[in-house]
Symmetry: C4
Subunit: 206 residues, 4 copies
Amino acid sequence: MTYSEDFFNLATQLIEAGRFIDSKGWVPATSGNFSARLPDGNIAITVSGKHKGRLQLGDIMLIDKDANSLDGKKPSAETLLHTSLYKRFPEIQSVLHPHSINATLTSRLFKSEIVLEDYELLKALAGIDTHESRVVIPIFANDQNIPRLAAQVEQYLDAHGAIHAYIIASHGLYTWGGSVQETLRHLEALEYLFDCELRLHGVRTI
Amino acid sequence: MTYSEDFFNLATQLIEAGRFIDSKGWVPATSGNFSARLPDGNIAITVSGKHKGRLQLGDIMLIDKDANSLDGKKPSAETLLHTSLYKRFPEIQSVLHPHSINATLTSRLFKSEIVLEDYELLKALAGIDTHESRVVIPIFANDQNIPRLAAQVEQYLDAHGAIHAYIIASHGLYTWGGSVQETLRHLEALEYLFDCELRLHGVRTI
Amino acid sequence: MTYSEDFFNLATQLIEAGRFIDSKGWVPATSGNFSARLPDGNIAITVSGKHKGRLQLGDIMLIDKDANSLDGKKPSAETLLHTSLYKRFPEIQSVLHPHSINATLTSRLFKSEIVLEDYELLKALAGIDTHESRVVIPIFANDQNIPRLAAQVEQYLDAHGAIHAYIIASHGLYTWGGSVQETLRHLEALEYLFDCELRLHGVRTI
Amino acid sequence: MTYSEDFFNLATQLIEAGRFIDSKGWVPATSGNFSARLPDGNIAITVSGKHKGRLQLGDIMLIDKDANSLDGKKPSAETLLHTSLYKRFPEIQSVLHPHSINATLTSRLFKSEIVLEDYELLKALAGIDTHESRVVIPIFANDQNIPRLAAQVEQYLDAHGAIHAYIIASHGLYTWGGSVQETLRHLEALEYLFDCELRLHGVRTI
């Protein structure tokens, strides 16, 4: 199989994103998966079972918009969660899904959603230009049945419109953006905000 | 535009300061801004919207003492907070503004000011030569209206005289010094002291 | 003494594992020990008293399945804990024993066992394919008498069958797998899960 | 001034120790000081006011056993605390004094001493061969008058005999050993043990 220059370019960005994300401890063991959309609508996505901090070019595969493998490699079981985001939001070009401790703890403490308010760093999220904003990140129950989990997400998005990210309980975070770079910015900001809330929550409830 | 050797020298120091500050996690996403004053009174300052841990020379711009761009680049919205510090304190040559979690949590827990006492590391702040000192760091409400925020700072400084740093609530820290190096020393010491206070506060209130 | 290519290959993997484990802070001072089984049944294992983050080839020695030194070097006092795992479980090829703070704190808070449930990251453990699993990690009292400690472990395994890891109280974790790589995956996942439980435990009991 | 090969050897070890200690965050700003004794009884020690994570050869100076400068450089104000340890204990060849947050918090929570018991990692301290040991680390009040502080330490050592380390309250830790390497092992173990105690203390008192 021959890959396009667009594929190599985005695969390289995903590999570098993985190194950064792993340096923060957000993809322990072989957890997480990352993707980026090519101009032709196909999607570069990490294969199953690799450590995301030590990705090689051969660990990134190509799928079409319906999650069919185009190069014979086996995509992650959670690929459907990526493709349904790309279908719904034409402006997003990358989806990152790490498994941080903060996302897992957030889901245990805040149950159905976490509300982020009054932080300057909210402005790192696309479309937010003041700390006087209210950003809701929904938390969905974990499910090994990915189509059923994807349907749960779709239903929420139908009812609530665009959001910046969602958490799968005791599992991890999904966030996205107009480029790999912007998605990393969203991820870094959300981790900061979850960290603040977790630490304040611990202190506040005493 | 041609830049002076002084500019290149200070820009390089700001780039290296950014790498150090990012390695500590104090400038997540594209948050923060840094500056240094040139001998001629103009100011090298980070442009808007770049990741402070991965600055390039082209991400540092030149403004005059009144915050006017001298090279056509767009400075950060918060530039006024830098220039008003330089005008008030002729001895300071650098201003660093990171967005650490500790500064944000400090503002949530201590509200209007944090008082630092009885730490040996207070001696890392210019002019302090004993742990038996009382250093007050004021905390100002966040405001997207920067002239109004700057006026709030000016009013405090008129009333209280020289301080070592201030916090903008749920936003970040401003600190300064006689060189980029000294300002980094102040920053590293303040982060340590905030960390101590936050952890003691959490434990004490139990 | 001449070592085989298998030995050099596995010794190199143990050295690299040590650097990774030390980068996480899980082998402070000269604590911990690591081993891997060769195809011929002999075992490459770290010698006593070296810093596990800065291992050299000469710090890995060769023993037979009964813990006898084959190259005249002195193995760790805890070698018996490695060899008894290899004898019981023919499928395992590596044993890693770090001394993380999380393992120590887990033993102080959870006493006789820690139960891990409902985490997606449980799937990083061999044989687990859903978060709806219940993984029990037993905690044994520390003992300077290693044969007596090994007997305590054997008795538990006789009664309970295969487990993924065990903790020695206020001491450290033992985990294993089908390769050095898989054992590292188990270690990274268990550390994440202990961290979650410790932080939730601290918060929940308030 | 010409320095001996012994001096260069030990100075290099102190520089590398500084990089390691700074990578852990234990010498913020320009805090801390390190020394090592030469075979002739003179002492290599860090000069005042340098960042201990970025030491150069010129930042290490030579003093005699009575703390007199032998090369015209200015030693740290706390040099007397080093020389009095070397005089009392002929077997120690290095003294390390970092300013970790853990040492500061330990002094605030445990007041006059911290007792370490039942940890396997106690065996990293010279002369300890079982976790069933009781190690007491005294905590002394901070004092800018170094001769008075040194006298306080001497008095304690006269009354209690040899110890492994002491803490100066809200300031930092002093520890020592038979080589720079052994002193680093003591430091790494003590930091681990303080961290455990601080976290258990926080949890236990809830």
